[in-house]
């Protein structure tokens, strides 16, 4: 049958199978195969042959403690602490914003989501600016400059700063999940408890909390799953003192040329991520049915009066919002105009790192942002990458969504939808590792894409698919099937229907999805860090490079640029009412 939809579906299935499923197998196969470079670490190495060597080395060899178990424990500890902190902060803020009559919600909401909008890197840089310790080299941070004594090392590097900054980056995520659940509570449930004579705290404890508990637990697991995949942040605040997580260990191994070891760690990281998502799904399935709030007619949401506490809570929340949302940006800005890092005084201010030309006495001759070829090239690459990825991801996303919705009874369509979701399950750095193995050499008609810009676009598009398909499904579902059938009866071909009916009606959804992808790709680092070469540098990786070289001012300048770009992107989303917060607001009203 000459059905264009089926043809498109089969093509997409084949392409996605190669870009999503095959890389995973390739990665796993690599961990069981002697690599060319392994001759120098083992005499037995026979390139291309099967081996347990890497798995044994990583899990049971003399280096396993340093390679796997240490980082694994670090990952778990920082993951658990940061998740708990993020949930406490996110949960209480969600309650304040959604359910209480706290003033100033309108402008507190966007500020509270800032840390999640910024690259995670930014918070870590800001932390370093304050707590940098000269013991590991470099200039003192703000803490030392003000207090005159060096901060204790545990405050500068390792578990504490990583956990706290991870929590700062991810609490808005927990906040959104819990706020979504809180917004579905019918006040009448609480009111009837009130009439029974229950106090505010009792209501919170006995009614409100149990109802949102499933969302809360799901938020815990999902947040944890996200923290373990973080690379840039723990690298910046851990690597200087040899503190490694599994994610940073992957990078470190690749830097040392121990590729296969890195792949073993990537597989382990993926397993951890799969486990946490599986647990969360299982939990949601088990509990959600039982706790489903019955919201029939007369649903309404009443704000709870805080009384005398109103302004106190407002002050605490505002201060918190300032410290986690605005202060980091200010610190990055200040840091980027200091001539000598760590020396705080008006005479030390300079615009060199923004508008200065190359000066061999400063920063090894690196010119300021506007004259810096590397930075300008990276800016151009960033915009190009974000734009292309966003467009491709949205268009492919809407087509997959269309197939998934309209051909829901076709098992192949369901499969396509599921495959498109899989990238969500891979921690981004592990996904990068997969593409490293897949495109290192040409396979059949597919050239070796390593080092090309195309590869960056490819991985960015595929990694955005789970989100763009989801946006697309929402958009397509809202378009009644009869609208399309009416055009079909009129004799319009599928192409015409897709162009004239589906696309225009889904356009606002597609546009906002595109913007979300644009912002997402722009701030992405872990995904592409393994695939970047000097020619394909983007702002985030250039900034990361400068950070590794110790050129903090330039790093800060670059991250600040990304931060401002992403904030403007989110502002546009906010304006067109499709951002995360706007959607939440709709739910509440």
């Amino acid at each position: 049958m000459r059905d264009p939809v089926s043809i498109v579906m089969l093509i997409l299935l084949a392409v996605l199978a190669y870009l999503v499923i095959w890389p995973f197998f390739q990665l796993v196969i690599n961990t069981f195969t002697w690599s060319e470079g392994s001759r120098r670490i083992s005499r037995e190495a026979v390139p291309g042959q099967f081996t347990w060597f890497y798995w044994l080395q990583v899990t049971a060899g003399p280096i396993s403690g340093k390679m796997l178990y240490g980082p694994l424990i670090n990952t778990l500890i920082t993951g658990i602490i940061s998740t708990i902190l993020a949930l406490i902060a996110g949960g209480s803020l969600a309650w304040c914003i959604v359910r209480s009559d706290m003033p100033g919600k309108r402008w507190l909401q966007p500020i509270l989501t800032l840390p999640y909008i910024l690259p995670s890197f930014a918070v870590a840089l800001a932390w370093e600016t304050v707590f940098r310790s000269p013991k590991v080299g470099g200039q003192p941070g703000l803490y030392e400059a003000i207090l005159g004594i060096a901060p204790p090392e545990w405050l500068s590097y390792g578990v504490v700063p990583i956990s706290i900054t991870l929590a700062i980056h991810y609490f808005p995520f927990a906040y959104l999940l819990v706020a979504g659940a809180l917004a579905t509570i019918d006040s009448q449930m609480e009111e009837s408890a009130l009439i029974s004579g229950a106090g505010k705290l009792t209501i919170l404890r006995r009614i409100t909390f149990p109802v949102v508990a499933p969302a809360f637990v799901a938020a815990i697991i999902l947040t944890f799953g996200k923290t373990i995949g973080q690379f840039a942040l723990p690298f910046l605040l851990g690597a200087p003192t040899q503190f490694h997580t599994v994610a940073t260990m992957i990078y470190a191994n690749l830097a040392l040329g121990l590729d296969s070891m890195a792949y073993v760690l990537a597989v382990i990281l993926i397993a951890m991520s799969l486990l946490s998502i599986w647990l969360s799904n299982r939990f949601i399935k088990k509990k959600s049915g039982r706790f489903e709030t019955i919201s029939g007619k007369g649903f309404r949401s009443r704000e709870i009066a805080l009384g005398n506490w109103r302004w106190f809570i407002f002050s605490v929340v505002s201060l918190f919002g300032f410290v986690v949302g605005i202060l980091p940006i200010i610190l990055l800005g200040v840091q980027s105009v200091m001539l000598i890092d760590g020396f705080y005084g008006l005479e030390n201010l300079t615009s060199h790192f923004w508008i200065g030309k190359s000066n061999l006495n400063i920063a090894g001759g690196e010119p300021g942002v506007i004259y810096n070829k590397i930075i300008l090239g990276a800016t151009w690459n960033t915009l190009k990458l974000a734009f292309l990825s966003a467009v491709f991801a949205s268009v492919i996303g809407i087509i997959i969504a269309y197939i998934a919705v309209r051909r829901a009874n076709n098992p192949l369509a369901v499969l396509l939808d599921q495959i498109a979701f899989i990238p969500f399950l891979f921690p981004t750095i592990a996904f990068g590792a997969m593409y490293l193995t897949l495109f290192a050499v040409p396979v059949g008609p597919i050239p070796a894409l390593y080092g090309t810009f195309t590869l960056l676009v490819l991985i960015s598009v595929v990694s955005r698919l789970p989100y763009s398909v989801k946006t697309g499904i929402t958009a397509v579902t809202q378009i009644g099937q009869e609208l399309e059938e009416a055009a079909e009866v009129a004799g319009a071909s599928w192409g015409r229907r897709f162009r004239k009916i589906i696309m225009p009606l889904a356009s606002s959804g597609i546009m906002s999805g595109m913007m979300v992808s644009f912002v997402g790709v722009m701030r992405e680092l872990s995904l592409i860090i393994l695939l970047i070469t000097p020619a394909t540098r983007v702002l985030m990786t250039a900034g990361f490079g400068y950070a590794e070289e110790g050129l903090t001012q330039l790093t800060n300048a670059l991250v600040l640029i990304v931060a401002l770009l992403t904030i403007s992107g989110e502002l546009i989303l906010w304006k067109i009412g499709k951002g995360r917060m706007a959607r939440l607001r709709e739910k509440q009203s």
């Binding site: 009644g480 009869e482 009416a486 055009a487 009129a490 004799g491 004239k500 009916i501 225009p504």
Partner: protein, 384 residues
């Protein structure tokens, strides 16, 4: 006929050109459609005459919408054949499945399916664009059809700016614009309020007979079916129960399902036993006046087939009045004799009281008798 030729010129409507007139007789042969284990249409055959207004009626899930969608080409049947005019548009044997756009038909959807991002005019124009109507002819036809439906002033509005009744008119305009020889309508009036529905029935019927198009109309509303159709098809579980003109459908339902489904208040169905022509269920006894030839029957008596008298000396059996439900021009009464409860219909000017005793006789000629085993009508003509 002139009109149709003119409208299309040498355009795509092949069937029109062939015969020089509209050849839109529809033949449905042995159509079967399954969804997994569920059989939505079971071996359905139906002939629809040129210009006929055929209504598909039945409870939800009976297959009426599936049948309409198979006609439209929106569903692919598993088996059978559909012919419109002299063109086979679907055949499982010959592997023919004409896409909807090539079937020369127009459709009004239950939700109207107006495209929300297009103005009224663009909505109507879409179909003309698809068949590549020259601009001049297209404009003329658009103005004509919009004026005819009283939508001329609203042509630049978007669907969301229209009332339900106006939206309905746009859907109708879209159907009429391309002048297809076949109209398909899927519960087009179900989203209107009761009063508007009444007005639209009249109007719909008028446009249909003006256009002379063969119309297949799906509804679950029997009043709609009775008032608008030339013939009604009653369906149940994917099978056709009866095909009759509305009056016959009411008077002579072919089986107890149709008898029960048609008519408001419902028909009285009473299981009875007997020999010869006198039957009884223990409480009531009736002389049919003819011999059904079997022992177990189901009697079908419409509420108006009961003659009810408050005169204790009148002829008939004695019933007790259980409930009185006045309903405007008529009053519905519930009567009981022994364990048997039946519904009767009386004029609004007759006043009964609860628990009053009344005499009841049945209009012999209006009664229908069904075989208790097969539930099918036993015709007196064959059994005299």
């Amino acid at each position: 006929m002139e009109n149709w030729q003119g409208a299309h010129g040498a355009l795509t409507r092949k069937t029109i050109l062939k015969g020089g007139g509209i050849m839109a007789k529809i033949s449905i042969r042995n159509l079967t459609k399954r969804y997994g284990d569920m059989t939505a249409l079971n071996n359905v055959s139906l002939e629809i005459d040129n210009g006929e207004f055929l209504v598909l009626l039945g409870p939800s899930g009976c297959g009426k919408t599936t049948l309409l969608r198979c006609l439209a080409g929106l569903e692919t049947p598993d088996n059978g054949e559909i012919i419109i005019g002299d063109e086979v548009i679907f055949s499982s044997k010959e592997k023919i499945m004409l896409p909807p756009g090539k079937r020369n038909l127009g459709m009004v959807f239950q939700s109207y399916a107006l495209w929300p991002h297009m103005t009224v005019r663009d909505n109507v124009k879409f179909g003309l664009d698809v068949i590549k109507t020259p601009k001049e002819a297209s404009d003329r036809q658009l103005d004509e059809v919009l004026a005819k439906l009283g939508m001329g002033d609203l042509s630049e509005r978007y669907p969301s700016e229209l009332s339900g009744g106006q939206q309905q008119r746009v859907a109708l305009a879209r159907l009429l614009a391309t002048k297809p020889p076949v109209f398909l309508m899927d519960e087009p009036l179900s989203n209107l309020d009761a009063r508007l529905r009444m007005d639209m029935r009249v109007e719909l019927k008028r446009f249909q007979s003006d256009a002379g198009a063969t119309t297949v109309y799906v509804t679950h509303d029997q009043t709609e079916a009775m008032t608008m159709s030339t013939r009604v098809v009653v369906m149940k579980n994917g099978e056709i129960q009866q095909v009759s003109p509305p009056a016959e459908l009411y008077k002579q339902p072919q089986n107890t399902f149709v008898a029960d489904f048609i008519g408001m208040p419902r028909i009285n169905l009473i299981e009875m036993q007997g020999d010869g022509q006198i039957f009884s269920n223990g409480d009531i006894t009736i002389d049919f006046g003819w011999k059904p030839g079997i022992k177990n029957v189901v009697l079908g008596a419409r509420p108006e087939d009961l003659k009810i008298s408050s005169n204790p000396k009148a002829h008939g059996e004695t019933y007790r009045v259980m409930a009185i439900l006045p309903n405007g021009p008529e009053t519905i009464v519930q009567l009981q004799r022994g364990k048997t409860v039946i519904i009767g219909r009386i004029g609004h000017d007759i006043i009964f009281e609860k628990n009053q005793e009344v005499k009841v006789t049945y209009t012999q000629t209006s009664l229908n008798v069904y075989d208790a085993d097969t539930q099918n009508l036993i015709s007196p003509i064959n059994n005299i």
